[in-house]
Symmetry: C2
Subunit: 232 residues, 2 copies
Amino acid sequence: MDLHLYELCGRDPDLRFSPWVWRTRIALAHKGLPYTPVPWRFTDKEAIAATGQGKVPVLKHGDKWIFDSWDIALYLENTFPDRPSLFGGPVGFAAAQLIRGWADRLVPTIAPLAVLPVWTLLNDKDQAYFRETREARFGKPLEDVCGDTQVRIDAVTAALAPMRDMLAHQSFIGGDTPLYTDHMVFGGLQWLHSVSRVTLFQDGDPTADWFERMLDAYDGAARKAKTCADAA
Amino acid sequence: MDLHLYELCGRDPDLRFSPWVWRTRIALAHKGLPYTPVPWRFTDKEAIAATGQGKVPVLKHGDKWIFDSWDIALYLENTFPDRPSLFGGPVGFAAAQLIRGWADRLVPTIAPLAVLPVWTLLNDKDQAYFRETREARFGKPLEDVCGDTQVRIDAVTAALAPMRDMLAHQSFIGGDTPLYTDHMVFGGLQWLHSVSRVTLFQDGDPTADWFERMLDAYDGAARKAKTCADAA
């Protein structure tokens, strides 16, 4: 198959936490495609220079380089059409274009909870890079980005309201089984789950049950992954 | 066919403005189902007493009563399977369950802009009912609900961000043609368009172009409908 996926990591090369890389990891599991993970750090720009940009996920397929999680999903869907579909057909793909816009905006909602925990996991070189770029983005020291944790948790809880409505009727956004729409939402939540022990869900929140189902899906692809809880 | 749809109106029986009734009107147009509209006012509770609740849309099909716009959509889809599908199949239906949760929350975001204009369109009896119930809901006089119009417009604009992302790639949430996911979003925007002349969209907002396409869809079913602009 000759698939290589560049996956963001910190000091510990086995702890993978990028919300965007998680989308791709789960999409590859959904397609049942074996691949070689390549640990990648924020400052390893030369390793992915062929893509003309500096972010992961980056998928290398033979001599082809594909970047951006959405474009990788399209590439996988078109290149491996005989594998389980990520979108479930044209209507599912069209709907995913709207859900993508919604799911993408969960990431900045979760970000204030994640940035300082991420920083603690990085090596020295990446810590300096991350602090500089993120403090410029947020306009404040990393230590001040989160503020009141409960206020941030409440914002994520509010943003996930459509998930709770949906989960009153079915197990996944894809219906009985997950699709890439689920993968997109999962990526953001798995990011926080990987780097922080903050409790995001209230007791009885159906989103928590969906998240557990996603951890178990695809033979436990995400459940088996290392998190900060394992690293402690 | 013997379909009757109870549609909210004000003093003018031809001006229909409910965001939920609009979902059903467009769904019926999508299915190409002729029906008899029944003008209904907020206080006409007896006319729909058979449903055991006091809101429209209510669809009467022969001697069957169906209420709630979502349940009506399911009823139409299941009862008229040979007509164009509202959901485009099981995956589209499953995705619509999430998009529904998102689209439903556009309605309260639009509401502050709509409530006072709605009140001005009602007859005396409905004005008293509407003022009492809505002032209890919002906890303030109808005249104070909107506050800064631009702040309210900005909130709707922000909520529609996933639409703009999606419209960079395709014409409708359904893809090349609209589906019930489009109808749900359209209902909320057509509500405001029917009762107010407020300009919701900035120049160049692709959501404005989508809205125009929705007005023209189904042989102009929504374009032909009376709005406050016609009534003035």
